[in-house]
């Protein structure tokens, strides 16, 4: 029983980090209905940025979040303005191809610059706490992961409030519902899309700067998180920010329970099997509105 409870706790902590990885995608893909297969590469850039600031300048990855988020916001806007706007109106396939091209370009530009070696962040607040554990009710919490999960939760709630409770968030939602109607009431859709891409890129880069404390950085690191993020957004339901969070927690728990009771090799397989099973009975996702 304790074993199961511990597995669930571990899964929930990872789930918050997955939620942060997925929420950028939930905005770009789930809310604005644009495909981004380079999402994992944005994450990788965030991780590399944090590693570079840490190894080169001794800046803690947690402090690095600020410049990385700003830089990636700008990058996301640029990607939208110069590439995605061009392919937005056409066949949805074209968006897939454009972002697959971006995936190859970004991933291998980093290979060209930094090689495919694995890199680790050894110095940092979270890394220095790595031995610290907290025991509550017979369950063990790793302090760094707990802190990261807490940070992820705070960011997530801030985003939720931004999108669901502010005028800007309403404008974003209005654009995704009906672009022409939004234009009639004075919203500039192009600008909304650019902001959505900026936000999505910044959020996933922040996730990268947090993940870098726990995972090795290498140019191909993105794919494993991208496939999970896609499953999470689809599982949560398009357009539902809260659904994304709950789906991410579910995915974290499925993974950690699989690791304990079955085999670590099958942890992603069980996530995707659950996706298929749920998808067949509820194609719009758990909390999807459409």
């Amino acid at each position: 029983m304790t074993e199961l409870a511990q597995a669930v706790v571990n899964g929930l902590q990872m789930g918050f980090l997955y939620a942060l990885v997925a929420v950028g995608l939930a905005i770009i893909w789930g809310l604005m209905e644009m495909i981004n297969f380079a999402h994992g590469e944005f994450l990788m850039l965030g991780m590399f940025g944090a590693w570079w600031l840490s190894a080169g300048f001794g800046i803690d990855p947690l402090l690095g979040i600020v410049p990385i988020a700003v830089a990636m916001y700008g990058f996301g806007v640029l990607v939208y303005r110069h590439l995605m706007r061009r392919v937005q109106g056409g066949d949805p396939f074209t968006q897939i191809f454009a972002t697959i091209g971006l995936l190859f370009l970004l991933q291998n530009a980093v290979v060209a610059g930094f090689t495919s070696d694995y890199r680790f962040v050894n110095e940092g607040i979270l890394a220095s706490l790595s031995r610290t554990r907290l025991d509550v009710l017979g369950l063990t919490f790793g302090v760094p992961l707990l802190a990261a999960a807490g940070l992820a939760l705070v960011l997530f709630l801030a985003l939720y409030l931004l999108i669901e409770r502010t005028e800007f968030g309403l404008a974003l939602q209005a654009t995704s519902e009906d672009r022409d109607a939004a234009r009639l009431v004075g919203i500039r859709p192009q600008r909304m899309f650019a902001v959505a891409w900026g936000l999505g890129a910044a959020l996933v880069a922040i996730a990268g700067a947090i993940l870098v404390n726990f995972f090795a950085v290498y140019p191909q690191v993105g794919l494993q998180f991208t496939v999970l993020a896609y499953a999470i957004v689809a599982l949560g339901g398009f357009g539902s920010i809260l659904g994304t969070l709950l789906a991410a927690l579910l995915v974290g728990v499925i993974q950690s329970v699989t690791v304990v009771y079955l085999s670590p090799a099958f942890k992603d397989a069980f996530v995707f099997a659950s996706y298929l099973l749920i998808g067949l009975f509820r194609p719009q996702g758990l909390f999807g509105r459409f």
């Binding site: 495909i35 392919v87 396939f93 697959i100 970004l106 291998n108 794919l223 298929l276 998808g279």
Partner: protein, 341 residues
């Protein structure tokens, strides 16, 4: 009827292309160069995969990210039959195709409830589930995979029947085996394209509701389309297994078995029979030529070829998403209007 639409220039290009493909390895073989024959082999394999992917992706309009599963099914089936029972390669290849079709139909039918993005993710999901199965199933060699024992054949016929080429003619033998499979695939897909089946596929792509309105069972034809794609991937996988002399999960379930053919299809022209062929001829040699020109220099192994792929695909997506074949070649080089897609 379809023949009448092909312009004279296109027919000339076809004859020249076919002759070039047949003659290509001969001067290389006379000089004892095998490297560029292997490049040719990889072009043909990827062109064949692209032609296969076009059926589900280009004609039926369903984005399939997981056909590499059936590449692996073909490779494993042929390799198992050969290594454990001594079944001859071409029979193993056909068996692999049959297994892939059945497996694909069973797996894909429930998926056809899902549309658009959800379908695409579901195909990824099956690939994600297949990977640990391949890596842990003892019967198929788990993570170590299977090795195919080498048999030497004195006669060309014996080597060709068992797909076991070795020595100085190894690259030549596999080149022509790939050319044969590619030509058969292309001919069959040309038939499918002009058949009722091909029109059903495109009807589903263009407007699923309207297609259902005129009595096309969209789920059934999506399953058929994906099974055709799976069959092509399985055949290529079986050939690849004998070429590589081994099958292991990381190699045959590698993502590039779908991304390279998909990119080739997009660059050449999605939904056009010859699109993937043109795309593969352009894209695949880039990688091979780069690895020789960069040699062991500072930029070797730094993914420069993939940067070029990324740029090509971005430019195509941004400026000509219908691919190179859709450019007005007829107006530039011929008098007649080019055949519509």
């Amino acid at each position: 009827m379809a023949r009448a639409r092909i312009s004279g220039a296109a027919r000339l290009a076809l004859v020249v292309g076919a002759l070039a493909a047949i003659v290509y390895p001969i001067p290389l073989q006379l000089q004892g160069q095998t490297y560029y024959q292997t490049v040719g082999f990889l072009v043909l394999v990827n062109a064949m995969l692209g032609v296969g992917w076009n059926v589900i992706g280009g004609w039926t309009g369903q984005f399939d990210f997981g056909p590499q599963v059936f590449f692996a099914v073909g490779a494993y089936t042929a390799a198992l039959l050969y290594a454990k029972l001594g079944v001859i390669a071409w029979v193993g290849l056909l068996a692999g195709v049959a297994v892939a079709i059945v497996l694909c139909a069973v797996l894909t039918y429930p998926l056809t409830r899902l549309r658009g993005h959800y379908f695409a993710i579901a195909t990824v999901a099956i690939w994600m589930i297949a990977q640990p199965i391949g890596a842990s199933w003892e019967f198929i060699g788990a993570a170590q995979g299977l090795f195919l024992p080498v048999q030497t054949h004195d006669s060309v016929v014996g080597a060709a029947l068992s797909l076991q080429f070795s020595g100085p003619t190894k690259a030549l033998g596999y080149y022509y085996s790939a050319l044969l499979l590619f030509a058969v695939t292309l001919a069959l897909m040309a038939l499918v394209e002009r058949s009722k089946l091909g029109y059903y596929f495109r009807a589903i792509r263009d407007d699923q509701e309207a297609a259902e309105g005129i009595g096309i069972d969209s789920r059934r034809y999506k399953v058929i389309a994906r099974s055709i794609t799976a069959a092509v991937f399985a055949a290529a996988g079986a050939l690849y297994a004998f070429w590589a002399l081994s099958v292991f999960p990381e190699q045959v379930l590698e993502l590039h078995w779908s991304t390279l053919p998909i990119m080739a299809t997009v660059v050449g022209g999605i939904g056009r029979l010859w699109g993937p062929v043109l795309g593969a001829v352009i894209l695949i040699p880039i990688s091979q030529v780069m690895s020789t020109t960069l040699g062991t220099g500072p930029l070797a192994g730094r993914g420069i070829d993939l940067i070029v792929y990324g740029l090509i695909i971005i430019v195509i997506a941004a400026f000509r998403p219908t691919g190179l074949l859709s450019l007005p070649w007829g107006r530039w080089f011929g008098r007649r209007r080019p055949a519509p897609a």
